[in-house]
Amino acid sequence: MKKEFKKDTEINNSFADKLDNLIQTKIDRKNFLKKIGTAYAVALAGPLIFNSCKESDEETFLDKLSIKWEKAPCRFCGVGCSAMVGVRDGKIVAIAGDRKSSVNKGLLCIKGYHLGEILYGEDRFHNALIRKNGKLVESPLEEALTLVASRFKESIAANGADSVAIYGSGQWTIQDGYSALKLMKGGIGTNNIEANARLCMASAVTGFMTTFGKDEPMGCYDDLDIGDVFVFWGNNMAETHPVLFSRIMENKRINPKVQLVDITVRQTRTSDSSDMVLYFNPQSDLAIANAIAREIVYNNRYNHSFVENHTFFKSGTTNIGFGLEGVAEPAITDKKNSFEQYKKSLDMYTLEYVQKISGVSAEKIQKLASYYADPNIKIVSLWCMGMNQHTRGTWINNLVYNIHLLTGKISQPGNGPFSLTGQPSACGTVREVGTLTHGLPAGRNVKNPEDRAFTENLWGIKSGTIPAKPSAHTIAMFRKLKDGKIKAIMIQTTNPMVTLPDRDKFLKGIQKNKPFIVVCDVYPTPTTEIADVVLPAAMWVERAGCFGNSERRTQQWNKMVEAPGDSHPDSWYNIEIGRRLGFGNLFPWKTEEEQAEGLYEEYRKFTIGVGKDIAPYKRLQKERGMRWPVVNGKETLWRYREGSDPYVHKGEGFSFYGNKILGNRAVIWERPYEAPPEVPDSEYPFWLCTGRVIEHWHTGSMTRRVEQIHKAMPHAYVELNKDDAKNLKIKNGDDVKLTSRRGSLVLPAMIDGRAKPKKGLVFVPFFDESLLINKLTLDAHCPISKQPDYKKCSVKVERG
């Protein structure tokens, strides 16, 4: 072997020069495909020539390889890559990136490439499980459904409609979310519906609503190919939105002008690729954003005509608390501000002052401010959990919008703020369908009588069915569940026993008060452990469905393989349970296929004419998704700008039509810096920040069952700063004990690994159900969005 090897290398060396040339030139894909086309014609002629040799009873080479390929959006993150799913003999055998999709242009990430395996974990649920004598036992589906319906009915009869609840997910399809919403608000008549997107996107929503009056980004992923400067506000995009990060890196490769700026608390893979890194103290992002605004305003570098014609100034209640249990929250109001007042409020955020709070040098803040201010630089701000999981999440969203509004760098190609999402349909389902306690489809709100009437009318239900008052946001819902006020809950496609902050508090309460818990899922998780009934779910391409990604793109996929055993889609369960509760008339669709199209098309009626117009189901079957508003069959790339958004009238230039009462202007908010509820002290001297790694999706219940991914990242760890580790005499791989006021956990140390936290901060990923970091986190949240802050609490660090 070795000998031959040498020979071959000799042969190859003779081609070295030519090869080198060829390797260095980037292949022209289109040409390549054309050549393949020609070659294909030759292939068709092949069998004719060799026909006499054909053995008809044998499979041909091509047949044997005949994998049927069909598109589906990735099951995992909010990027919404399109994957080609290869199916043979009723099973997924391969995955490929979809080069027809403009989202990912043929690329996927490690999670996406292993989509196929998540269906085939050996411990997948095939049957319904019912808890009998303390144990979950396999039971007929009919028995499980009857039990669920009767327990819900009993609870409603005895304790009212608000004693039952549904907790869903940003991984719900549009159909799942819409059927759950219709069942709860239109059937049972309660606003007890929430979704885990509350834990990841709520601040983004309230940020959009308070500034623009309408949810979701104005820009799209095309900005990533066009922009000159990209600012990551606490977003490790290289790991959390890898395909989009590669788009930026591709832009940088072609255009040397491109600069990346990372604002972060740890040196991540994103920082490694960045040109400027701002290491800041947790929570001081509020001060940095104000300092940038101050630089722009006080140096008179703001866009006068844009500010004059398209913005409106406001200020709101300050010292709004942290939503802690048992602490009364102040009423939050707002009032009109003037430019002068706003300018005065910025006065204190001098470079020197902010340098002191944030630990970021004045020069760096100034440089970043000049990027934002320079009219010749196209700039995109990107963020995700860093800004959203924040006790001032709404405020920091507002503050970044302020900068873009002051400079008028918004709604234009390569210019604009871009709020990224974590889950595949946090936007499409939770935010657009409105599966939150206050929500109704397409941006409507239960508090608004017209919205309720419109919805009741479209659903053909009695007026007054939908309660006018929102009931409980996620944290409040689980507080009620643990306190025994909610008696029965259905949890679908999510894993709250891993993701809730201060998890053990909730678990103990649930074990004490024993509410009836139904879980729809595919694998055993800590949440199915507390379930009374487990309904086996059909996942991803085992059913037809739709997702909506971060850039307003709605994508559809067809069913490609059969789900195991008795498994069904969540939407099917919602409909079946609805029928058993007497709401069958709300769901006239019979087969799963009819349900997928029927639910979508009915929901689509809500979206028409309100700026969220989604494309017809049949159209989406042919497209790689379309970005709403889709008007006259055309998608919208940049909202709020004339010529690009069909909702902006001629002559308006820009129109933030979500704020009709403010004359279609966007709001520039006065939002101060305020300290977080728990800061390191002598007893708990370290910051604890939690987050994600590229390999695992959410709580790892799917990705950990993929061999290649599990072996790459088998368990959680704690990242320590090198100097801190040295002081504590901790070496790489040593056991480290973390203790917060709520719990403690022992994990292996990672020092100088893939990321390096700044001094005084430790980082732990949350995917590992056996090393549950959420036993330590605090359930403090943004009082406006009710989204918890998983990024900041204080801990003690010891050798374990």
Binding site: P47, E117, R705, Q708, H710
Partner: protein, 194 residues
């Protein structure tokens, strides 16, 4: 009876001859086992044919851009074998040096057990070979894999880091895709129907 026997003998001889013909026509390179070995070695590093390979070595340095220092031009470790645990280790030339966020798709593997077993099954390149029947597969052989991100055939098949079992005996010729087609079913997503 005799007729049947004759038919069987004839068929066997016919098949044997054809086997060699196909063998010679289809695989101008290396021995049968070598190729099969290579195919199974390949699949050990991948979840399925077409998946990005895992990283078969430990990462010497953390940080994203170190990978390309070896994998841009490729290294064949022969003399420096003691640096590496295995002899003849090759740092393959990446077929897509333009993508620099390497860990987006490629991850190193730790020596841990499984979290839970998985029943996912894929096809194997060696099977492809077995299933090539006489005559149906006129030489030259089609590409037995997808070409996404691997459009530059020569990098894997002809460069200094190419595995000898997949180096064509006809050596360097331009335009591989003029004679070797990608498999039909994969073409569905490859082609734009032009």
């Amino acid at each position: 009876m005799l007729k049947l026997l004759k038919k069987i003998i004839f068929k066997t001889i016919f098949k044997t001859i054809l086997f060699f013909v196909v063998f010679l026509l289809s695989f101008h390179c290396g021995e049968k086992n070598e190729r099969a070995d290579f195919a199974s070695k390949r699949l050990k590093l991948r979840a399925y044919e077409g998946a990005p390979p895992v990283i078969p070595h430990t990462i010497l340095k953390s940080g994203t851009h170190y990978c390309l220092s070896c994998h841009t031009k490729g290294i064949v470790f022969e003399k420096d074998a003691e640096v590496w645990s295995k002899k003849n280790m090759v740092a393959k030339i990446t077929p897509h040096p333009e993508w620099v966020n390497c860990f987006q798709c490629h991850v190193p593997q730790q020596d841990t057990g499984l979290f839970h077993k998985n029943k996912f099954k894929t096809f194997h390149l060696a099977h492809v070979k077995k299933n090539i029947k006489s005559g149906e597969e006129p030489a030259p052989p089609p590409m037995p894999h997808q070409v996404e991100n691997r459009e530059k055939c020569i990098i894997c098949h002809l460069s200094k880091t190419a595995d000898p079992s997949i180096v064509p005996k006809h050596g360097m010729r331009d335009g591989c895709e003029m004679c070797h087609l990608p498999p039909e079913s994969l073409d569905i997503y490859l082609g734009d129907g032009e």
